[in-house]
Symmetry: C2
Subunit: 339 residues, 2 copies
């Protein structure tokens, strides 16, 4: 059997490594026509692999002796830990031995390492981290949610273009509505960055820019792509996580407070399960880091096997849709125009 699609997977990153990572890898190769390269401490990975039966030519293990933890300085760690699972994995992509890299490890190290080792698409000033956010009508796609603070207006235009390409091709929304995260709906609202970015976005013919969007309207499904500087984007992302967690915690306390409410809660057990499932965005994979010459996916630190499998599927879709080439085309036009 000859397999075209090869994906590198950090077996040591995240809270549940290597157990859940290896399990997710085995599930992925049984479902998709891919080959995975698992990177990390070989003996630990092999011990996990022994638990499962799978097509052995679809999983390769590459040893890496070091692990980068969340509390290390990303720049120092990437420079010094040449034999870490992150650096080894990114190098496999750089050398063309893998087409994408997935890790549930340190976000900072993955971002720094990716830009440094894999490199940016020509014309992209800053790659951006993106994620899906649940809303009442489904999901919207937030870019940037954690890579570039103190962004320039041109970065935001590039985020908008990359976001639109991703959403159209991977999430299947035709002509996605692009909104600029802001603190008012009117054009003249916001800070210096958003005012300048608005002017530029308005002139872009190839995206469906619908103007400013307030955080409240993001939750109500007001647009498909939410463009933001990473500071505001990260506040929005973490507020979304925090508030939904807080609301469910307040509900739980209240429902456990009397016998009657406990009975009600029991009756609604299945309903609450459905609600949690609706709001679970691990179905959509991890957070893609867009604007690089290859795809890098940051899976949530608490990823289980299912989340890892979905992050791998996300890579397969990304590679099949040739997103990098499509982003290049979109951005390249600008580079041409600037000549």
């Amino acid at each position: 059997m000859y397999v075209n699609t090869v994906i590198a997977l950090d077996a040591m990153g995240g809270d549940n490594a290597p157990f859940e990572i290896v399990k997710g890898a085995v599930e992925a190769v049984s479902q998709y026509d891919i080959k995975l390269i698992l990177i990390g401490k070989e003996n630990l990975i092999q011990d996990e692999l022994k638990k499962y039966s799978f097509e052995h030519n679809k999983i390769e293990v590459v040893h890496a002796n070091e692990i980068i933890s969340n509390d290390e300085s990303p720049t120092t760690a990437i420079r010094k830990k040449k034999d870490s699972s992150v650096v080894v994995g990114l190098n496999l992509v750089k050398e063309g031995k893998a087409m994408a890299f997935v890790s549930a490890g340190s976000t900072g190290a993955i971002l720094t390492g990716s830009t440094f080792i894999i490199g940016r698409i020509r014309g992209i000033e800053r790659p951006a981290l993106a994620t899906v956010l649940p809303n009442t009508k489904g999901f919207s796609f937030l870019i940037d949610c954690g890579a570039n603070v103190d962004s320039k207006p041109t970065y935001l235009v590039q985020f908008a273009k990359m976001g639109a390409v991703y959403v159209e091709n991977i999430l299947g929304i035709k002509n996605p509505r692009v909104g600029l995260l802001n603190i008012g709906a009117e054009k003249e609202k916001g800070n210096t960055l958003t005012k300048e970015a608005y002017e530029l976005l308005e002139q872009e013919k190839d995206i469906h820019f619908i103007g400013n969007i307030e955080a409240r309207d993001v939750s109500l499904g007001g647009c498909d792509v939410v463009v933001a500087d990473a500071f505001a984007g990260n506040v929005l992302l973490k507020a979304t996580e925090g508030v939904s967690q807080a609301v469910f915690s307040i509900i739980k306390t209240e429902l456990m407070s009397s016998t009657v409410s406990k009975i009600g809660a029991l009756i609604l057990k299945k309903s609450f399960k459905n609600i949690k499932q609706k709001m679970d965005y691990s179905e959509y994979g991890g957070a893609p880091f867009l604007g690089l010459k290859s795809l890098v996916v940051k899976a949530h630190g608490s990823s289980d096997a299912k989340a890892i499998k979905n992050a791998i599927r996300q890579c397969v879709d990304f590679i099949n849709s040739d997103i990098v080439a499509k982003i290049e085309q979109n951005i390249q036009v600008d580079v041409e125009n600037e000549k």
Copy 2:
């Protein structure tokens, strides 16, 4: 009867003016030892007042012929509409005829008019809009949530001090924990603004600075005062409103989807009412605009009589606690130090 505390109330601002505003005013004078000056179209206000019985020397009506709407440019409106309820009300405060001003009208006009007409406390570079945010343990106080975008680090230090004074004296939390809204817990995280503000906040002896706080931890009650630039603060505020609304909407849809879930929902009707009440922060009054020579409170545009009454009680507490003098003391120290 001689009443010391006089509060000016915009009878024309908000979605439910003048009906709910006048009703709230009547309730307030029956509960507190105050005098209210209702500002707006005299005939409309008098028609409303006729519906109630109250001590007539506790409510005075001052006619103002114009109304500033939400879609007018604040600066132009404040300059041109000299006979608007907002401008007339703020002038009453400036002239010492009232000690505070409450309005559910245009936020922009209230902010612009307040700074322009009432003026800043000496040493305060920018007054800030603040609000309470619900969390799993109660409430935290967010400052700035809408007045100053593109803040300088020194503004944030002043927000922290004003917030701490307010929370200690009005919300009754001793030595309140002050957190800097950021996208990571570590000192070196964030953008240029938060990094510089962190350095300054760390040196402040008179506030209990606990470092950076992420939006997620705000929802979980991680601190009492959340300090932010108005852009990030407003994203946090509107995300909090939007996400809770979205979660309840998703729950409602799910609970109405089957007969069994409808029965469960019926049993839990009272519980859900309790939950909504727990998360209703209109109990705490409106959004105070701090750093001015007198208090100005922005009540929510959709305020009902109860919300207006609570905004008035908030003014009474503010005046009784002499918050302006306490902020002056705190800031004055700095002015002295700088000499």
